[in-house]
Amino acid sequence: MTDTQYVAPQTLDEAVGAFAAGGDDARILAGGTDLLVQMEAGVVSPGVIVDVKQVAELTTIEETADSGFVVGAAVSGAALEEHPRFGEVWPGVLEGFNLIGSTQIQGRASLGGNLCNGSPAADSVPAMVAAGAVATIQGPDGQRELPVEDIPTGPGSTCLAPGEILVSLTFPPRPAGSSDAYLRMIPRTEMDIAVVGVGVSLTIEDGVCTAARVGVGAVAPTVLLVEDAAKALIGSKLDDAALDAAAGACSAACNPIDDKRGTVAYRTKVAGVLLKRTTEIAAERAQGA
């Protein structure tokens, strides 16, 4: 057994200090549903474990005055689901997040952990990318903000510098007629890893799509923002031609792996199909929003 240390700092400054001081083999602990699995498998043996769940900025959900949201990076899926307003405004982000694991996993898993673990198949990430969520990052040299799609750099890696902690995710205010959705394709119906995951966020005014963002997971080394798919939707009435064009753009953006869960051809095709279905769900929700 390695000589591990565990610390649970009370403030963000202390957490950044402990994390930076721990060097290369320090690890942040949020819900632990990735980290402890990796520790038990012997893949990771941290020198210092920095538990961030005592830090207020990482564990609170705040609705801003202009009705955006700031969600702490370590807030659990169960806690976000209980929030009275978040799921009304961002049903797609919440459904992506709530798809992660079982009830037990939901009691602990966080958006920050899902993002920082760097899996291309992370279920909450395409929906956060579609939402235009911005990550607030705090490190030894101060604070910076980055769009969620810029954080992962490859399977299991992120652009966070040594000592940097993801603090929170900011979801922008939404105009009337906006909503979002997330769908994933898995071989089983529960507890499985996405073969493709698609998040769509859009705004509809007088029947016309005036804004859209598309995030796609599990089809490339990182979750993708697919701007061409969004462009095909914007300005349209989401008719068949627009959906076909967007689906084509979505498939064209894919650069997937071939494995037992799905071939390249299968993943590429399903990405287009899911884009259409997800757009239809988001559009239906937007009509009522």
Partner: protein, 160 residues
């Protein structure tokens, strides 16, 4: 290696124990505290046999560090019966034979209780989804689901 001193509450009792920094809560319960009701089926969050509640939230104790228990309230299967009086879920599992080998049973009971504590009137679908992270190799699940639904119905009646 320096041990960590943890002050916590388990099944309502204030408890102090020592653990290694990377020791899981499941290992601390079983090896330090003699609470062997929580089982290790997988050690990776897949089977739910190690289910406990942490400040009333259902979690896998195999994916939690023992050190995280500091200042929290933990409930395990050992706290479910009151002395000799079994919890209605425990009674119903026995009555309706909702177990065979019994390895999954503590986790099933802890998880089912957490559901009924927050939703006294779940649908069958809600029970199945809630318990999707509790695997059972023996029963085929139907008897477990039925026992949870029947307990919920009886507890609602008793509460009237």
């Amino acid at each position: 290696m320096a041990k960590i001193h943890v002050t916590t509450k388990i099944n309502g009792e204030p408890i102090e124990f020592l653990c290694d920094p990377s020791e899981t809560m499941l290992d601390a319960l079983r090896n330090e505290l003699g609470l062997t009701g929580s089982k290790e089926g997988c050690g990776s969050g897949d089977c739910g046999a190690c289910s406990i509640t942490l400040d009333d939230r259902l979690v896998c104790s195999c994916l939690m560090l023992a050190a995280e228990a500091e200042g929290k309230e933990i409930n395990t299967i050992e706290g479910m019966a009151e002395g000799e009086n079994l919890h209605p879920l425990q009674e119903k599992f026995l009555e309706e034979a909702a177990l065979q080998c019994g390895i999954c049973t503590p986790g099933m009971l802890v998880a089912a209780k957490a559901l009924l504590d927050q939703n006294p009137n779940p649908t069958e679908t809600e029970v199945r989804f809630w318990l999707a992270g509790n695997l059972c190799r023996c029963t085929g699940y139907d008897k477990i689901i039925r026992a949870v639904l029947d307990t919920a119905a009886e507890m609602r009646e008793a509460a009237q």
